[in-house]
Subunit: 363 residues, 4 copies
């Protein structure tokens, strides 16, 4: 068991990059939830490789087929299964790779674990392509959360070391929509321009860059999550590290909090219009693992795409000797901007799971 | 359910800071493992508040009593329960706090979740004191791992923004022992001196500082962990965010990877003495969620102690109006150095859990 | 989350009886296992409605399509997804039922839980049809177990109150194969003849009958399972009660043990050819939740098919008044004989899960 | 991990029969629940060995000490830990048993699993003594359920093959209280008299008898539980088979349903005083794994106490040869009557867990 998360809402992802299809089973959705399939498709399209030079040339329409759980456009209580056929796989591009693990990829560890039986064409089950079904699950969760006044949005907070502006103290649903409509999901368009130039420069150098996605959720009730190991941070972390290439995660000030003093990191409580709020949000909306009611804010660090066009040193598994490898397949010079909706999706799925647990107090 | 983690090895923590006792149940330990109680106590002592000015004045001997699971100094297969009585609690220090949630603490969120019924004296179940039983579980796991050639160690990588030297590419068990013996667990003693000065300066300002703990594990077989949501990173993150005050977590280069190019972040594979290794370890020993056999390296960011001696703005829960609060209790001006063995403990418990799962391939 | 079981090997079933397709995701299969698809199909065919008068007239070929996890006829380590399209659904047969819950069916409870959104055509997600994907998962598990010398078989131990002969003390793989090849899976063919007559008699009375399936597994190592709540009995029970219509479960002597004396129920240990065995097997191969190495023996009680052709009293949900209902759809006068491979399937999946856990001692 | 169950409410049992203490951690209890400790003790006393000839001579007061989770007599939200010291252990009685596994006990399987390290004195972790902490957890659950109008009760439905009267269609809280107050928990006192005589007769023969416990819960809302593997039956079975000596479990008609026709087993729905009810309750209050709102009825079969005073054949583990064993320790000639509150306890804990999940529809 590996490709699953969730307690009340359970998400189970399957498929390999060059297999017949990829898909997801979502078990535990509330019944009677209308799913706007056009809006879901727009959400999925944000993740798809674009037509520009920043993305892989692999083309997939990524239109999910619903085998169960959805009747007359509404969830029916039974587990939902969505399948996305793989259309544009070119496995011949990956022949040499069976013997020469690509640095930075899971080829070597999959070979250790599964021997020669691993289907690692195009990254196999470890491929970023598996984030498409994740977005189906998370896109549905986003719609259900929105109906309850909870909105999840994200932007590319950094790429190639160039940083976007941070989210404001109170991000709004409108801001999230605006970001979702942008071809490059940043708050500061000038920074976005510099990011794109840096990605292209790396591409021209047969190289790649990493990035950071900042995600926020607003409208959450206070009291979600449990202490210690079932906290909101734990549950989100447990799922978010499942997105390929995530190597770091922080909430609120995160690593910067380690450099602050208590007086600078504590958020003063204040009463505003009869409600208890915090004046600042260094905590990222979570204290003791439990939501405060302030916006939840997290950042996930994505490593640079390990597939690069340069010759790299690796080994031959069969001959147990050093070797060189040049990867010829299609690949993204940066995946962080395409990961923006994926972080939203996983965050939304976890938050809906927490919300469905329903023991978040009565405040 | 909240204060539990683990799949084959299950750790369940209980207790409140000022309750009768704190403790832990560890279910799933292999039978016949000799536990060196003196060594375990030395490990626990690393977490205890020291006698110096850097720590809280609360004094606890923290000697665990074993109620089950340990017979004649060996694990017997049945769940192990260890209890640590609370001795030096002074609840009168916390009277005012029942109505005025301390900024940066879980007082407010516990009140939302559990109403006035929460026992938040001294932080209650959310207190850093709960890391003592965690260290019992993790200290036992460390001994069992060591018997299998796996060693876990950590140091204070940063405090108050002052950074220690990083771990070398191949940390050794001897280095871990050396660090464990030091009164202040840093690699670069000069940096440690500056950190201590910064902590004292904050203390004199009635303030506190945060820090970063870097933890490594060596001797791990390749092939531990599963893809996507049951990866080593996911499992560790799910547990490590349960340590109070952790707000960020990264593996290998972590957030710095987001600033690197692929050519600088990929680790080339090489054959050395007939074994496949990586020349560098930007991945922190994990690719695709699965161990590579290289040292596992992670860093956890701790926020500054929220309890500070300065007056802070908060609210009165009963009167729903703004209020001021000055905390008079004992507290640490920095908890990150005391958290070093805690991060080791949780890491060791998760790694033993993964190891016991036993499906890590046959390479 | 509902339609899932397993810890290392995780089985997740989806689909509704009259939806587009039904299917299963099996996550955690060992890699490199060859799956004999023809043998799997023969196993699935044992569950399919036959052409005779004992079964429903609904016709489905039930040939699974593998979307993932199986490459070149071998498991590849990634989650396996198999889909079975629904072909012969006739939803018009079920129109009246939306308002009138069928006695003995889940129509009423699904309506309570999911309101009018439940897709209960043909029983929806609660239908016996969902046992087809279960048999895909279990049929694969059976092949993997057989490769390790573990064999699972079952027979119809009773139907309509008529009992078959019990399994011998040591059932063999050959006996299981023989049973699997029989059109009516009983040990005593004369008893089988009487059972069939009783089923037909019930059918002629527009009624139905129940039955008992006895299942055994041989070749299990001693030491599988854990004490108390993770015992072999617990794990099997947790899954077997998921088969529609199961209302009772017993291991070894089961309910009969409650009538025995200790001297008659205890199994004496003996050394035979250097191995410790039991002279009798009243325990059904399990002591303290852990396998003894003797054959595992269980019996599951199936209630009579709730769909019967007679007029029955029920209520109108919309008008909240008493009503009468005559079910006109196709249905089995007995499902217990078709449940025989289903019990085998679920038993095999649970046993493989336990075996993969790999902590069953070194005896 | 073995000695734990529950999803929202998690119960974790620890201890060995002759170790220092036994106990339980209950994580996930709602906060602010007043626990009547005197009533809890009365509940625990029902399980304790009595002073009469029907029970073991081992004397334990079984008064739990609460280390956490309970402040001022109320749950505080944090995990509750209760410890019961072992007082009257006489381990010298069990010396010979280290080498000669008792037939019908877990001695052999524990030895296979844990080698000579297992602490099997008095049955170790497998002992019926572990049901005392289970009763602490379940007794608390019963009080919380009662406050919500849900009552759980049980009686000894059979012992030594002699049957009690069954529960009426609608058992009441008053009936449960009456049963709890009786020294021998049967509905039909004449049958109880015959049972006691049969137990004494077995005791005089140095033998033991088994029995059946019938348990019911009334006041449950319809809609509890989920389809397939997370049904009420699955969740109860998964926990109830954890009670030592349980070898069978059935719901409603259970095994008798297998002998009925559909027309005799289906429960007709009727509207009574504006509510939908069933005229009969062959289903035992569960359809499709989900509660109907009718009383939940289950029966658990207990095998005869395996410890008997007669000489029995077994093996010497060290010499791998046949041996004879006469058990001299104290033991119950029947445990089924003492198991009555244990079945109530486990049933109550599972039902509270299901109730806390809170997704049981809005009917």
């Amino acid at each position: 068991m590996s490709s699953e998360f969730g307690k009340i809402l359970h998400v189970s992802v399957f498929g390999q990059s060059h297999g017949r299809a990829i898909g997801v089973v979502v078990d535990g959705l509330p019944a009677g939830e209308e799913i706007d399939l056009a809006a879901l498709q727009r959400f999925l399209d944000r993740r798809r490789p674009g037509s520009g030079p920043l993305s892989t040339a692999r083309k997939e329409t990524d239109i999910p087929e619903f085998l169960s759980g959805l009747e007359d456009g509404k969830t029916c209580g039974a587990p939902l299964c969505a399948v996305i056929p793989n259309a544009d796989q070119r496995s011949r591009d990956y022949g040499e790779l069976a013997d020469k693990p690509r640095p930075g990829h899971a080829d070597f560890t999959a070979w250790v674990k599964w021997g020669g039986h691993a289907d690692m064409r195009g990254g196999g089950h470890f491929s970023g392509r598996l984030t498409a079904p994740l977005c189906v699950a998370g896109g549905i969760a986003k719609q259900i959360l929105a109906r309850r006044g909870i909105f999840v949005g994200a932007h590319l907070a950094a790429a190639a070391g160039i940083t976007d502006a941070p989210f404001p103290l109170y991000p709004t649903a409108a801001l999230f929509e605006e970001l979702a409509a942008r071809p490059f999901p940043v708050l500061d368009e000038a920074a976005g321009e510099r990011m794109r130039a840096a990605v292209l420069a790396a591409k021209n150098d047969l190289d790649s860059v990493g990035g950071v996605v900042e995600c926020a959720a607003v409208g959450l009730p206070p009291g979600l999550g449990d202490p210690m190991f079932e906290g909101v941070e734990n549950r989100l972390a447990s799922a978010l590290f499942g997105i390929p290439a995530v190597k770091g995660l922080e909430f609120g000030e995160g690593f910067r909090a380690a450099e602050l003093r208590g007086s600078g990191n504590n958020d003063a409580f204040v009463v505003e219009q009869g409600r208890i709020q915090a004046e600042t949000n260094h905590a990222g909306g979570i204290l003791g693992g439990i939501t405060t009611g302030m916006p939840l804010v997290l950042r996930a660090a994505f490593k640079p795409t390990p597939s690069i066009g340069r010759a790299q040193r690796t080994v031959s598994l069969s001959r147990l000797e050093n070797a060189e490898l040049t990867i010829h397949g299609r690949h993204d010079p940066c995946i962080a901007h395409r990961a923006v909706p994926v972080v939203e999706a996983v965050t939304a799925a976890v938050l809906l799971d927490l919300l469905l647990e329903g023991n978040h107090g009565t405040f």
